[in-house]
């Protein structure tokens, strides 16, 4: 029954089974334990699974304690620092909106003990935060984009236009002074723009490696933001230019 390669078989098995032993995978793939372990080392290095002595699990929405994969996730530390700064902007009782992404997920991890209301497009964030009873979670709904596992489309956008959060945290894969925040698809651009529409504070959380790149669709011009949080790897001239804009620039370090 070797229908496709073993790594995919392992991944599919993990998608269905949560916590798994090597022995189970041996049976499922009909390979030897040694081979399975070698495969698992690879998958671990790619950062898609977590291992302990007798267990393997898919890395779902919770970025894990340091494993081999830590270095793989680029800008991991930068994102942590940015999230630290972002979380400090939040006060108990606030209504906050969280765009989809790993940086915003890091923000979510920092507010689990704070009574806040959260609106998000991200399935991971929604499911994660819904486990903490101090937090009221709303997901915007719509079609799920499977690369980001978040909601896109008009249905969710209409919800965003109905609400007035205290702070909106928006992440991105590309931003620049001239083109603003851009996104690869119109759907995603519209959702991001929706997040920026009604919020009191509109905060961009984006590490410096994404600066000065852009995608097809402009979503939000930079002057729409009230705050931008980034790391300390921007060059000095860029820094000076950005500091003279109307938004407040936070350098996380």
């Amino acid at each position: 029954m070797g229908k496709y390669n073993r790594l995919d078989q392992i991944m599919d098995y993990l998608k269905l089974h949560n916590l798994v032993t090597v022995e189970e995978l041996v049976i499922a793939t009909e390979a030897s334990p040694a081979t399975i372990r070698r495969d698992l080392i690879k998958l671990d290095q790619h950062g898609v699974i977590s291992r302990t002595h007798g267990g393997v699990t898919l890395n779902r929405f919770i970025p894990n304690q340091p494993t081999t994969s830590e270095k793989i996730h680029k800008n991991f530390n930068e994102k942590q620092l940015i999230a630290d700064v972002a979380a400090k902007l939040i006060k108990p009782g606030d209504s906050i909106a969280l765009d989809a992404g790993t940086t915003t997920l890091e923000i979510a991890k920092r507010i689990t003990q704070m009574p806040v209301r959260v609106i998000t497009s991200d399935l991971h964030i929604a499911l994660f935060l819904s486990e903490f009873k101090q937090i009221e979670v709303t997901i915007i709904g719509g079609k799920i984009d499977d690369s980001s596992q978040s909601c896109i489309g008009e249905h969710g956008r209409s919800l965003l236009l109905q609400i007035n959060p205290d702070i909106s945290f928006i992440s991105c894969n590309s931003w620049s002074l001239s083109k603003g925040v851009t996104a690869p698809t119109e759907d995603k651009a519209l959702i991001k723009a929706g997040f920026a529409e009604k919020a009191d504070k509109v905060v961009l959380v984006a590490d410096s490696s994404k600066y000065n790149s852009y995608s097809l669709f402009t979503s939000i011009p930079l002057n729409r933001f009230t705050d931008i949080i980034t790391d300390n790897h921007l060059d000095t001239e860029t820094l000076q230019v950005l500091q003279n804009q109307i938004f407040k620039l936070h350098i996380a370090s």
Copy 2:
């Protein structure tokens, strides 16, 4: 720092960390390994975690391979059988709606290789199915009910009223011939009713242990269903009565 009881501490740690070792929990709780293991046995028996030799993880949306907890989840086998029958009603290319619940999640697990479109209110189902690229997933959106981790409220209901699925699968905690499907809150009742509104086939999936009980809000009268799938533990008189109704009664066994 023993702020609260150790079981909650362990749970909170698991919520943040995905895959965890006993040693980590020893450090986090400042208890002995033996105590941690005893706690884990309890949590396992409650069915909220999974264990392997060196690993512990929260049971998120994937009901696991047989563990100690298997017997705890009552009617587990019945739900499996019901889901088997339900899945057979689905054809490739169908648009299906899945209410929140463990039985509907079991249905989801059976269609991962089938190209279908799925609308659901359940975060678990949405996140789970979004990992399979043959499947297009839509979540209805709205406030998250933290007991079921699914969407409730008007926003999601409005989406349900806009779509016309081929089949709607609805689960429940209580159903009877006289009162129909009932729910404990108005919000939940409205969502369930939304699922039944526009679908071509409206299918109730409910094990027999829930028959002849009811909650405060009536959601859907039984004669609204085109099919009812239940297990073979109904008594013969009930069976006869139900077989004479307009819906088609499927007995899973």
